[in-house]
């Protein structure tokens, strides 16, 4: 039983999506995250245990390797894909309550900005941290965040901007969200963003990378 969790951890860490995926080459013809998750459920492991003891630690490890420059964006995306394959089987349990998420996280790149890689990396790290993620994509205006927040009360919001020129829109988005929902927690990130800027625009948290975002969200979960 524990072996299955360890195998799943390994599959997600190395980005082995399913049996037919040829990546990574050293796991060719092995089961991937999808098959191992199915086996774990068949063996009677709970979805919550699978999430907490395999997926979350695997994604934390992936995030750490990424910040240490041991792996790079393509590997990170493969790991996310492997996690996604596992989540396909786990997600139905959210409805029954057999699987609890830590909360909802709404993320998007602010208006005028079309960069999505950093935002996607944070998005997958947060999902791998046990949150349900609503991804608004790029060029997302305040109205879209506010509308989504109405459908997910209590959600935490993440804003990304990759250009010094679109950081101005980040400020506007924070103001607009605050105007309708002052208590909503907002975290921000992106290459040109700084702690100083975060303080100035009144966001709650500046995250220099995905793992820091997960750590911050952990402090909010259950509150």
């Amino acid at each position: 039983m524990e072996d299955l969790l360890e195998m799943l951890h390994n599959a997600v860490e190395l980005g082995k999506v399913d049996r037919k995926s040829p990546y990574p080459p050293q796991l060719r013809d092995h089961d991937g995250a999808y098959e191992i998750t199915a086996m774990a459920l068949d063996a009677g492991l709970g979805p919550q245990q699978i999430l907490e003891e395999a997926l979350i630690p695997a994604m934390a490890k992936v995030g750490k390797k990424f910040s240490d420059r041991q792996i790079f964006v393509p590997q990170m995306l493969l790991s996310a894909k492997a996690m996604g394959a596992s989540m396909v089987l786990l997600k139905p349990f959210f409805a029954s309550g057999a699987l609890r998420s830590n909360g909802t996280f709404i993320i998007g790149t602010v208006r005028g900005d079309l960069h999505d890689i950093g935002k996607n990396l944070v998005s997958m790290m947060v999902e791998g941290g046990g949150w349900q993620v609503v991804d608004l994509g790029v060029d997302a205006g305040s109205d879209r965040f506010i509308e989504t927040l109405e459908n997910h009360p209590g959600a935490v919001i993440g804003l990304s901007a990759l250009l010094t020129t679109t950081m101005e829109n980040m400020k506007q988005t924070v103001e607009d969200i605050r105007a309708v929902s002052p208590s909503t927690r907002i975290l921000i990130g992106g290459a040109p963003v700084t702690q100083d800027f975060c303080d100035r625009i009144g966001a709650d948290f500046y995250s220099p990378n995905g793992q820091e975002a997960v750590n911050y969200l952990k402090t909010l979960a259950g509150n």
Binding site: R69, F72, V73, P74, M76, L77, G112, L114, D116, I117, N120, V138, D139, L162, L163, T164, T165, M167, E168, M170, K171, A191, P192, T194, F197, R200, I201
Partner: protein, 282 residues
């Protein structure tokens, strides 16, 4: 097709048949937070230092971007332009999403600059093209529009054609439109560079215009970035790229090598002289 630019006196010609011209990318606060703190303190020393080192390494045009939240770029962009042109006789590429900042900077600038940039969105075309005509500037055309970014080279070409059509109608000379085919990170999509290369090739064949791109974007999220940038830029030049926006300190050697192997450097003079001059400065 020749796009002629100028500084106070010096002329730089970007020629689809000629050697590659580098637009130096370093005057941009996105990766240089120090740039804004020094400019806000009223000091142009750092920006001048960035200009000097880029020119020494082979930049023939300088991109100037001073956009940052809280910065009044309508005031700061022209001030930076004046500080730069006071010291260096070089054409500038004025980089701002704010048409008023571009206009103010063009008023302050000597010679003929490039506006960076217009795109296929109606709002952008209406704001930027009249300014380009009024000041006789060249303009970089980003091949995206109200629909966002397409991954189909033919559609990117269609957007380029639309922008050129509108520019000509506005009274801008065709050769003053420089196309940016959009270079996206190959770490997230391993076909992204191929889409750009095909777009470059189509623009070159159908429009024959000069082509630029942010050559350092593609390697985001990967190791050995300089090797990747060099490989991609070399292929892009072969397909029609003529004036990349890049860090000359990293890429000049491989650009000169590319020009030489493409028969654009008679007697290998530029290639060898760069080596000799770099040696001298060591």
């Amino acid at each position: 097709m020749k796009t002629v630019l100028s500084g106070s006196y010096a002329e730089v010609i970007i020629d689809t048949e000629g050697p590659v011209r580098i637009i130096g990318e370093s005057i941009n606060p996105t990766r240089r937070k120090k740039l804004i703190s020094t400019l806000q303190a009223g000091s142009f020393d750092y920006v001048l230092q960035l200009a000097a080192s880029q020119i020494a390494s082979g930049a023939e045009i300088l991109d100037v971007n001073v956009g940052y939240p809280g910065v009044d770029d309508v005031k700061l962009l022209p001030e930076t332009v004046m500080a730069l042109q006071d010291k260096f006789d070089i054409p500038l590429c004025l980089d701002s999403p704010n048409p008023r900042a571009i206009e103010a900077a063009l008023r302050a600038a000597k010679g003929k600059c490039i506006i960076n940039s217009v795109n296929g969105e109606e709002r952008s075309l209406r704001a930027i093209l009249p300014i380009a005509r009024e000041f006789g500037s060249a303009v970089i055309a980003l091949v995206m529009d109200d629909e966002g970014i397409t991954h189909d080279p033919e559609k990117r070409l269609a957007i380029a054609e639309k922008i050129v059509g509108r520019a000509i109608k506005e009274g801008i000379r065709e050769e003053d439109v420089i196309i940016d085919p959009l270079a996206m990170a190959v770490s997230a999509d391993q076909d992204a560079c191929l889409v750009t290369l095909k777009t470059i090739s189509l623009v070159r064949q159908k429009l024959g215009l000069n082509i630029t791109m942010g050559a350092s974007n593609i390697s985001f999220g990967l190791p050995n970035r300089e090797a990747l940038n060099a490989a991609f830029t070399t292929l892009a030049i072969y397909n029609g790229l003529t004036c990349p926006i890049a860090n000359p300190e990293h890429i000049t050697t491989s650009l000169l090598a590319t020009d030489l192997v493409l028969g654009r450097d008679p007697w290998a003079i530029r290639f060898v002289e760069y080596y000799q001059n770099t040696l001298k400065s060591l």
